[in-house]
Amino acid sequence: MNSFDPGAMSAMDQARMMQVMQEMQMQDSLKMYNDLVHRCFMECVDSFRYKKLDGKEEVCVTKCAQKFLNFAGRVAMRFQETQQEMMDEAQKSLAAAAAAGSGSNETR
């Protein structure tokens, strides 16, 4: 999936890349926070008699957030597994192509 080779970048570029990735990660986690609050609020809060969340709503929001986190963690795990499988496949086919290439040279 990667169309660039991180190893070929200069140290400066790599550091810059790390910085960009950290910034993206930070923005992404803040966005996830807001999305989660919105989603759980819409699901759990339906009455506006009082200024504070009542016990039931508080429990609902808590459970909603925890469930989403567990869910997101599992998705991340599976995603990483599929990424790893893809990389392994790519490595294997590269190795096979290299072996086939060197084999044909010898027969010349």
């Binding site: 910085q19 986690s29 803040l30 609050v37 919105h38 008699r49 969340l53 986190l69």
Partner: protein
């Protein structure tokens, strides 16, 4: 906002992680996004139909309560996220 646990800056002139500007910008974007979503949530909860353009008393009261509840929900979720370490410290 702070980022407990990030490595310190590298020696020399290498970039060393999100700068103060980046963090301030991220915090601003966070609050802007929060505001938009709160707007959407409270509008959908408090204004079921559109008889006229003005807010009636009930809707005004509902909006006040809704904003308060939304902020409380934001803090609750923030605490949970912090505990699970899925994110860096939320803006206070």
């Amino acid at each position: 906002m702070n980022f407990g646990g990030l490595p310190g800056g590298m020696a020399g002139s290498m970039p060393s992680g999100p700068s103060q500007m980046d963090m301030a910008r991220a915090e601003m974007m966070f609050f802007a996004d929060l505001f938009t979503k709160m707007n959407d949530a409270c509008f959908r909860k408090c204004v079921p139909r559109f008889n006229d353009g003005d807010l009636n008393t009930g809707e005004m009261v509902c909006v006040d309560k809704c904003v308060s509840k939304y902020m409380e929900a934001t803090n609750t979720v923030g605490e949970i996220l912090q505990k699970s370490q899925m994110m860096m410290q939320p803006p206070s």
